[in-house]
Amino acid sequence: MTAIIETDGLGRDFRVRDGLRRKTVVAVDDLSVRIEPGEAVGYIGANGAGKSTTIKMLTGILVPTRGSVTTCGLRPVADRRRLAREVGVVFGQRSQLWWDLPVRDSFRILAAIHSLTPAVERARTEELVERLELDEFLGTPVRQLSLGQRMRAEVAAALLHSPRLVILDEPTIGLDVLSKQRLREFLVAERQAHGTTLLLTTHDMGDVERLCDRILLVDRGSLAYDGTLAGLSRTVGAERVLVVDLASPVPDLLDVPQARHLGSEGGGLRQRLAFDPDTVTAAQVLAGVSEHGEVLDLAIEEPDVEEIVRRVYAGRR
């Protein structure tokens, strides 16, 4: 089977002005990945790690400096117009909708842009409107939509022409929990129904956990990890964080056995302690804390994407 995305030694430099001189910044370096049709891949990394640059090279917006890239079996820059019919892209920050027109009109224009036949247009629009629950604001101008509504409309706009590959750049950024949940459910269903390949960049661990069965982690432009989320957590150690609220201010809890003090708030009313679940239980750490003061409330935090990324980066340096 042919890969839907295949890059080999892909790289991209930018020439930037640094005072009077110009210097070369390497945004992406030696990226070689292969993504098969139907996969759901999380593309994660710190800001400036080269995620957006990679997406732009995959879609033919930027010309690579080095290496080769094939998307849907096409050369992105040379075959940009053909590729546009196979790929749908959702940019969390850039709208593809017409801000002063009702959502419905944007869909009609996009259907014309992608030369959909009236029957296909009707069926697909109906499907998307139903699955993304757009009907309540279909007649509302885009500029009057809430962020959650707009993102759902953006996703529908990018998927209207039933692309084989959907690339989502920070699709859930700024959304409330419910909107995120709806969007993720939709993407899971869309993938099941049409076998769509998903590639998404995100800072949200929930996106990765619920949507992706593979993770690509980039560090300073090159690939630092390629595998499952579980594998990644194993590699970097799944350290958890216990957050405790105490009845009265307590000096920093620096001597709780097998736990590391991360920080305090409110003069010691709330403290954060990291521990490794493989060597100590949360109950043991809690018992250690209780020796110093009365615990009113507690929470246990899983590592988020930033934290995992930070640990991978730290291990490489």
Binding site: F14, V77, R80, R81, F91
Partner: protein, 272 residues
Amino acid sequence: MADLSIAARTAPYRAVLAARIRAQRTYRSNFLLDLASSLLIGLVELAEVWVVFRSVDSLGGLDLAAIVLVFGLADVAYSLADLAFGHCDTLPTYLRAGTLDVFYLRPQPLLLQLVTSDISLRRLARAGVGVVAVVVGLSINDIAWSASAVGLLVLSLASGVATFAAMFVWAAGAQFFLLDGAEATNAFVYGGRYAATQPASVWDRPLKVVFGFFFPMAFAAYLPVVTLLGLPGSEWMPSWLGWCAPLAALWMWGLALLTWRTGVRHYQGGGG
């Protein structure tokens, strides 16, 4: 997909333009205000020409009647080009906001998408002023009407629109390099529009090089009027040069497309 008829191929552009026109009509009072202010600007500029030429008998070999025709032709050509191509100057906004990338994700050529992304109907008011000036100009001048005179008029109007349109495309292409350079290109676009309404015969040589030939503004109205009225030419600009307006338009389009192409390459980083 395989349908290659004109209707099918233009459907994407027609869909956008129809929506833009609908949107402009939705905000009716806004649109009327735009129309009125655009009309006012056109009238003020026509008045300026009248004031200047009332105090002299002739300037650069043109009298008031001839200059009204020059003004009218240039203004009609510019307004029509502005109506269809003027919004190309929003490119810097797209570049800064990154929304140009959205054009890359659609299966149409970038430049065609940009050109058909909007249409400014309010320029119709401005074109109206120009049309009135042309009609008045044609009736008060002593013109030897013939088939070739009509041909010259139609040819120069079409070429003028094309030249100004190319000017907008050239300016947009230059934005890829300049980023905050709209001011710089506006000097040529608006300066060029103004130059087109003036008798090129009074310009000194550097000005003739820039707005006479490099940006061929003299070909939009002045030279065709000289040819039409059978007036004597001036230095570098013989009387028959008015017939070359289509060549000027071709030259400007060549320049515009080259600049656009280089600009796009620069944006994508594929080498300039």
